[in-house]
Amino acid sequence: MSSKKVFVSGDEAVAMGARLARPHVVAAYPITPQTIVVERLSEMVEDGSLEAEFMHVESEHSAMSAAIGASSVGARTFTATSSQGLLYMAEGLHYASGGRFPVVMMNANRSVALPWSIFGDLRDSLSQLDSGWIQVYVEDAQEALDMTLQAFRIAEDQKVLTPFMVNLDGFVLTHTYEEIIVPEQEKVDAFLPAFKTPSKMSMDAPMNMGFSSSPADNMEFKFQQHMAMMDAMPVIEATDQAFGQAFGRYYKGMVDAYLCDDAEVVLVTVGSITGTARVVVNSMRAEGKKVGLLKLRYMRPFPVEQLQDNVRGKAAVGVLDKDISFGMEGTIYTNINSAMARGGLSIPTYNFIAGMGGRNISRDDIRYMFDALMEVADGGASRKQVEFVNMGVTIDE
């Protein structure tokens, strides 16, 4: 199959990426807006283009449990979920990462009940940042397919052996159609070697896996896990380079800085909203305003140094969070502030909470954020640090 252009949704792009990666086992449970992924994968099994065992599990907890089981005998596994499902399998996320099982999972970012919502925001995956999974957030359907491929290679790297979550904004990205290039199978086979791991049960070398550790050893295992995640950073950068060389598309590693070098203010975004923000930056630059955009691709491991390098010397930094940690602030904001504090950077930072439960974020909303940052840069009056943008009602201050 040679590379070709197709017009597909984000979900379909993920399914095509998963097929190219040749997983041995797919175990997934349907949930809006991920359903298209599993439907396409089962169609691919039916038409013979995907030679995987497709397991119809009866819940998301079982999906992760089965994926870990398959991984424990050395099989390459893929699964997908969203919001409620991600949280139902929450203990399984820790289990996979602590067990060093490099499962790859697509997550369709969707708001978490209550209230019920099938629409997108980042509350689901951001609430699981501590679960030990590598987390990437993609901007468009091409990146969704490409990162599904990179995910297996990074996760299965012998220095990493850590599970990998590929996040797509629910509906906005999962269900909108774009033209993408599907790589050739032979090139993917060359890019993605067979899955090998010392952490597996085999008949040649019987193992006891998933054991308990006493207080005498637990910290050492956790340290190992943390170091594996830190060691993933150079692997991520190297994989981005290798992917670019093989397929002609580079994603610039852990962060993608757009016109940050000479910017006075920088807005940090995660996920598909970055595309809209790029358009706003272009308009404002045309008006002579020195604004910059930092797309955070990975939330874990967190690119502390790259973040510091791109905001050093700026007058103000804004963080767009499609999330709120109630009683505090947006989760991305917390991570940004910590990275900046660790670098001794005392620059004013502002959290813009937007797009919760599928609320639209328009170019005007993003322009509002940049205008606010520019006002601070120009020595304007101090403003709220955490602000909900584009509320449908007035609120008393």
Binding site: G98, G99, R100, L161, P198, S199, K200, A205, P206, M207, N208, M209, G210, F211, S212, S213, D217, E220, F221, F223, Q224, Q225, M227
Partner: protein
């Protein structure tokens, strides 16, 4: 080897000596269970009729077959007494352990 033996285990000194994640070789026993016993089973080889009942019902699998008869692995026997209780011909006696007085 039909069953694992007690092994001397050296604790890791450097982080790289730990296994990658919670995975370790099957059948590895740095710790004996002998210290659990108050009574130890003693098999009277003359009285034994080789019915294998004791071998079958030991929860710890410590009774093993040899050409000379059935013997107990005292490294791992916990002294539960099921073997003696189930023996049809009373060929096993539970004998008090001789421990050093503190």
């Amino acid at each position: 080897m039909n069953r694992p033996k007690h092994i001397l285990h050296k604790r890791p000194q450097h982080i790289d000596e730990y296994p990658v994640g919670p995975t370790f070789r099957a059948g590895y026993l740095p710790d004996k269970n002998a210290g659990w016993r108050t009574f130890r089973p003693v098999i009277d080889q003359e009285a034994c009729v080789n019915c294998m009942m004791c071998y079958l019902v030991c929860p710890d699998g410590t009774i093993y077959k040899t050409d000379e008869g059935l013997y107990v692995d005292y490294d791992f026997c916990k002294g539960c007494g099921v073997c003696a209780h189930q023996c049809h011909v009373e060929a096993i006696k539970m004998v008090k352990e001789e421990h050093d007085e503190q």
